[in-house]
């Protein structure tokens, strides 16, 4: 079992949900810590803003009582002037606050994105074997955005609501205790509604997010597999598949809206009750003469400052829940331990090229992939691996750059266990052309220089020459500057493979691994690549996986693999004598060869005098 790395982190399964929630919130907030100065400035300005916000209703009350009713005309100018000044100050403060808090939000997502990116680059092949790119993308874009919204909008809003509530409450209590208490009588109900709302909306949002990810995955797969879809005329099938996910998303989103439709109007209603109560009871007190009309007007405008934070609560709970759902999913990625990492005190030096397998075993789940592999390869040796599909050839070579870890035994490079090597140092000296060729959407030249960016154009062309890629690249519209699209669309399979070989060669590797890297290249070109490699790889260790015996027969050691074991090894000549399997392969290919020769001869042309 490839242990230690799973898509979903199960470690926390035993803890109660509340503890986890608090932990997620704390962890989420910790991202704002580096920006505490900006946050502090924002909080201070916001506090001032809130307090200043209380001044204008006070002025309004004074205006009504003393100017309009009391007729103190001389107060009109100072009050109006005061109002304007306050407004101006608030404007400036709001601007400062806005800029500061955006800084926090941007800082948080910057850090988060970069750490996610760095972490994803550390996760090993086994992670990418399991995870879907479409789903990861939706996390990295949508979830990060949800967190930004929370940090640049949610946090301060929450604080503002709380602060306004407290300040207004104090003012109102001072003005009229009874009226205030009446006003607050709805709060317990309100709190209960908010709580219920929260507990229902949270799962609703996480369902939406997951469904969004599934939908993305369907699209991603459809587009990646478009050739198969079209080849089998399965468009309708795909449309149906998409429609199912699409409708599911509809249901989930509409459900969440229904939850909002149920609770938010109730919150509004409850806060509306307060204002009606104040009107009625306050008016009654004015009639009784216990309250001045001016205070009543002021009180009424303060009531709005009490009601809006409560109303906004629903919206804020929304934001918080979305952010939490997003944060959980992002932390899931960050918490995935890379199955493969450099140990402390890792060996970091130049690789000479000795490779040794000691009693190596490898299994995925219950399936044995490799068993009892023992092999010593001296620097400069060329090792060829042949064997049936699925016999473990690729798995074997994948162990050398430590793309996977063995489940038993050891793989050693230069007599050091690969698990003790610094990964960067180890891989730097290993050049690989993988079975499936991935080219990046950049110029061909840059693709070749992918492993060594400081390479000169001469180097790049030399590598391309060796890989027999120079000629066709030169024929491209812009030569080495021609962009090759995602997955190298625009180039044929064989051309892509040759670019990949050039890319591997340019890294000047001590160990070169060619994993069926010429399968789509025609035989003549492959032959030329072989000849070029022979001189380049002098003194370097080479592993070649291939099916054509002509490709492998000059190797120093040929390994014959079957069902995850090395069943025979030796040179071409010795294997012909010792290995039945090798002999079978040889006979099959040789017989074809014989027939080929017979046919050529039958048409009156001898093999003599051919040019290489």
């Amino acid at each position: 079992m490839i242990a230690g790395e799973s898509i979903f982190n199960q470690n926390n399964g035993s803890l109660p949900e509340e503890v986890l929630l608090v932990r997620t919130i704390r962890r989420m907030l910790s991202y704002a810590v580096p920006y505490w100065q900006h946050l502090l400035v924002a909080v201070v300005t916001l506090t001032t803003l809130t307090v200043l916000g209380m001044v204008n209703p006070y002025f309004s009350g004074m205006l009504v009582d003393r100017v309009l009713k009391g007729g103190e005309k001389q107060l009109l100018l100072p009050i109006c002037g005061g109002m304007l000044l306050v407004a101006l100050a608030r404007g400036v403060l709001r601007y400062i606050k806005g800029c500061q808090i955006e800084r926090v939000g941007q800082g948080v997502i910057y850090d988060l994105r970069v750490s996610l990116y760095a972490h994803l680059q550390r996760l090993s092949f086994s992670y990418y074997d399991k995870v879907r790119t479409g789903e990861l993308m939706s996390r990295l874009t949508g979830d990060v955005e949800a967190l930004r919204v929370f940090f640049s909008d949610g946090i301060l809003n929450l604080y503002e609501c709380a602060l306004t509530l407290v300040v207004v409450m104090v003012i109102l209590l001072k003005m009229n205790t009874k009226l205030t208490l009446l006003c607050l009588s709805m709060s317990p109900f309100l709190a209960w509604v908010v709580f219920r709302f929260d507990s229902q909306i949270r799962p609703a949002y996480s369902h939406i997010r997951r469904q969004n990810a599934s939908l993305s995955a369907v699209v991603q797969e459809n587009i990646a597999g478009v050739r198969v879809v079209k080849a089998f005329a399965r468009e309708q099938h795909e449309i149906d598949k998409f429609a199912r996910e699409n409708e599911k998303l509809w249901e989930r989103v509409v459900y969440s809206a229904d939850v909002r439709a149920t609770y938010i109007p109730i919150m509004d209603l409850l806060s509306g009750f307060s204002s009606v109560a104040v009107l009625w009871y306050g008016g009654y007190q004015v009639i009784q003469g216990n309250l001045t009309l001016g205070s009543f007007v002021a009180f009424n405008s303060y009531i709005w400052s009490l009601i809006w934070p409560i109303r906004r609560l629903g919206h804020l709970v929304n934001l918080l829940e979305q952010a939490l759902a997003a944060a959980e999913r992002l932390f899931e990625i960050l918490d995935t331990q890379p199955a493969i990492a450099s140990p402390a005190g890792a060996v970091s030096r130049k690789v000479r090229g000795k490779v040794e397998f000691r009693n190596v075993n490898l299994h995925y789940g219950s399936a044995d992939v490799l068993q009892d592999i023992n092999l010593v390869v001296e620097p400069g040796t060329t090792v060829a691996i042949v064997g049936a599909t699925g016999s473990g050839k690729t798995s074997l070579v994948n162990l050398i750059p430590r793309f996977y870890d063995v489940t038993g035994g050891q793989v050693l490079v230069d007599d050091v266990d690969v698990r003790d090597w610094d990964l960067g140092a180890l891989r730097k000296h290993i050049g690989i052309a993988l079975q499936e060729t991935f080219l990046f959407s950049m110029p061909v030249g840059d693709n070749i220089a992918f492993g060594r960016q400081d390479a000169s154009q001469t180097d790049i062309e030399a590598a391309a020459q060796a890989a027999q890629a120079h000629a066709f690249i030169s024929d491209l519209p812009e030569g080495y500057d021609t962009f090759v699209g995602e997955r190298g669309i625009g180039l044929s399979g064989g051309q892509r493979q040759r670019v990949a070989i050039a890319r591997a060669l340019l890294t000047d590797p001590r160990i070169l691994i060619l994993d069926d890297a010429t399968s789509s290249v025609d035989m003549e070109t492959e032959h030329r690549i072989q000849i070029a490699l022979r001189s380049i790889m002098q003194g370097r260790t080479t592993f070649i996986i291939a099916h054509r015996l002509a490709t492998v027969k000059d190797a120093d050691i040929i390994l014959v693999m079957e069902n995850g074991r090395i069943v025979a090894q030796g040179t071409h000549d010795s294997l012909l004598l010792t290995s039945a399997i090798y002999n079978d392969i040889y006979q099959e290919q040789y017989r074809e060869q014989e027939r080929l020769r017979d046919l050529v001869q039958a048409t009156g042309t001898t093999g003599g005098g051919v040019v290489g």
């Binding site: 990646a224 229904d258 509306g272 991935f438 950049m442 492993g451 027969k553 039958a602």
Partner: protein, 622 residues
């Protein structure tokens, strides 16, 4: 070795630099590693109308929602007026009964609001989601109809972003923005009417500041739009980079590019952050300017109001208070509107991207009078076919080819000669620029695509595995296949044995791209898939290149039986594979240079003869 000397350390440095600055180069940059095109124009009325046309099927709901909004707006607006009556009429006169009645009325209104806003949210979410559902379905269905030409020029990630992100972007506009927009407009109109009705002089005074605000808004608007465009452009770059990094992660780790990539990603994020802050600094002017104008408006009302009051004009304290109340409600929508305008621009940019795809012509489509192709015999004729993926570069020239029913046609030639292009034309994945292709004497442009492709089995170089079980993947060839048929197909291509060795046999879950399987195993599955489809024409595009000789031999035995009665096209590099073909077609540089049987071609001592000699030479060395 000296072949790659450590010279010229700066060889590719200029490329890296050029990549960073998108404006520093005049090259077409549509499909860059880390860039997405930023289609954006000023507000386009036609596009907006088109966006609204998605509402058409839901006209009734729209009308109902509008009615609800009007009720809500009226209820909200009547609040200050009722307060005014309470203060002016009842409190001043000490009329407790009247006050209580108003209280009850307000209470009743609260319940009306409760009902209406609940209905509005429910209906709006359904309306919005219906539109998004339709839009996504339309997009997806349209993309299914597009030819390879479309996919050739676009990374998968970019197409995906259109269906997911861009449509979701519209979600905000449709479910949030439009509601707010309409509510705001109704409120604005309502408030203005009420204010003029209450006291037209005061109303005029208080609205004096509106032109000032409009001036600020229009000045800022252009600046804001430009900076937001910058933000979106940079965001698209980040996404494109992410997408490609994730897809190419294996190569990145092979070549130890993590550090460089991270640095590049940081740079992209820095750019984005700076662009965002720039946009924000300008955008932030809106809120405070609205606030300040609002207070100026209130002060003006107080000032003139009190002058009117002192002058003994017919104005009451309650009226003044109510007036200020309305004025407060007037500015809320105004400041919202500036946000909505922004939202609208963002959404319109997304809408444009969505429409761009919807408008992408379906260049390979059933002719209007397309006929259903009955069960074919399998005769394929290329009549003087010339073809290029782009009009300026032909990859096939004057191809003439005649495949009799049941024949095996082998296509031979160097990499890039045009072999794959020929078979792409048989399935009509592309249309030729000149000439025609006939199947059973019928021009394939005149038959329905579905009836054509259903009868053609295709096994490609790049095997694609869908996420799902092994069984699902084989069944993809024929959705109604029985278990027995699936197993029979797997057995025929020697896939059964290894499938049974998997953890859960045919029920083993495979991930997208089938990473649990070796490349060869994936090819076997795609063989079984093609076989199950029971096609009349079978095409193998280098399908056996990653299968070892032994397995290939077994497959070929199976295929020999299965090919009987089917026309087949085979592309392979191994000449031994194609020797037995009925017709060997040698292609070079987009032209057929030789065709005939193996013996005929050898006798001709041409290209084919030479290919054989090279292979023989290599074999001899064995």
């Amino acid at each position: 070795m000296t072949w790659c000397r450590q010279q010229g350390q700066r060889g590719v440095g200029w490329l890296a630099k050029a990549r960073k600055d998108p404006k520093a180069t005049s090259k077409p940059r549509t499909n860059l590693y880390d860039q997405d095109e930023a289609i954006e124009k000023p507000f386009d009325k036609a596009q907006f109308v088109r966006l609204l046309s998605f509402l058409r099927p839901y006209r009734q709901t729209v009308v109902y929602v509008l009615a609800l909004m009007i009720v809500l707006a009226v209820a909200n607006l009547s609040n200050p007026y009722l307060m005014k009556i309470a203060i002016d009429v009842h409190i001043t006169n000490g009329n407790l009964l009247g006050l209580s009645l108003i209280g009850l009325l307000l209470l009743g209104l609260q319940f009306v609001v409760l009902y209406c806003s609940r209905q509005r949210t429910r209906l709006m979410s359904r309306l919005g989601q219906n539109i998004l559902l339709d839009m996504r379905a339309q997009l997806f269905a349209h993309i299914q109809r597009l030819s390879f030409k479309f996919f050739d020029s676009r990374p998968a990630g970019k197409i995906m972003v259109r269906i997911t992100n861009d449509v979701n972007q519209l979600n905000q506009l449709l479910t949030g923005g439009l509601v707010n927009l309409i509510t705001d407009i109704i409120s604005l109109v309502g408030i203005t009417l009420v204010m003029f009705w209450m006291n037209w002089q005061l109303a005029l005074f208080s609205l004096l500041v509106v032109p000032l605000l409009l001036l600020i808004a229009t000045k800022l608007r252009r600046l804001v739009r430009e900076t937001w465009r910058d933000v979106r452009y940079r965001n698209a770059n980040i996404n494109a980079n992410l997408q490609e990094t994730l897809s190419g992660m294996r190569v990145i780790q092979c070549f130890g590019r993590e550090e460089t990539n991270l640095q590049h990603f940081r740079d992209l994020n820095d750019d984005y952050k700076n662009a965002w802050m720039r946009a924000m600094r300008i955008n932030m002017f809106f809120g405070p300017s609205v606030d300040i104008t609002q207070v100026i408006g209130s002060v003006v009302v107080y000032w003139f109001g009190s002058q009117l009051l002192f002058a003994g004009n017919n104005i009451t304290v309650g009226e003044l208070v109510a007036f200020i109340g309305y004025l407060g409600r007037f500015w809320g929508p105004i400041s919202d509107l500036s946000n909505i305008y922004n939202q609208l621009l963002i959404a319109m940019a997304s809408a444009e991207r969505v429409f761009e795809i919807l408008d992408y012509p379906v260049d390979i489509d059933d002719a209007p009078d397309a006929i259903e192709l009955g069960t074919i015999r399998g005769e394929v004729i290329f009549d003087n076919v010339t073809f290029g993926y782009n009009d300026d570069r032909m990859v096939l020239q004057n191809i003439n080819l005649h495949a009799q029913p049941g024949q095996t046609i082998a296509l031979v030639g160097p990499t890039g000669a045009g072999k794959s292009s020929i078979i792409n034309l048989v399935s009509r994945f592309y249309d030729p620029q000149a000439g025609s292709i006939y199947i059973d004497g019928q021009d394939i442009r005149k038959v329905s695509l579905n009836s054509l492709r259903r009868q053609i089995g295709l096994v490609l170089q790049d095997t694609f595995i869908f996420s799902g079980t092994v069984r699902d993947n084989i069944r993809y060839g024929r959705l109604d296949a029985t278990e027995a048929e699936i197993i029979a197909a797997a057995k025929a291509v020697n896939a059964h044995e290894f499938i049974m060795q998997l953890e859960r046999g045919y029920d083993t879950e495979l991930q997208e791209r089938g990473s649990k399987l070796s490349v060869g195993q994936r090819q076997l599955i795609s063989f079984a898939r093609a076989l199950l489809a029971d096609p009349r024409i079978l095409i193998l595009d280098e399908a056996t290149s990653s299968i070892d000789t032994h397995t290939e031999k077994l497959i070929q035995e199976a295929l020999a039986v299965l090919l009987q009665g089917r026309t087949s096209f085979v592309i392979a590099h191994r000449l031994s594979t194609i020797r037995d073909a009925d017709l060997i077609v040698v292609i070079d540089k987009g032209r057929i240079v030789e065709q005939g049987t193996h013996l005929e071609l050898l006798g001709r001592r041409g290209v084919y003869y030479n290919l054989n000699r090279v292979q023989l030479l290599q074999g001899e060395a064995m």
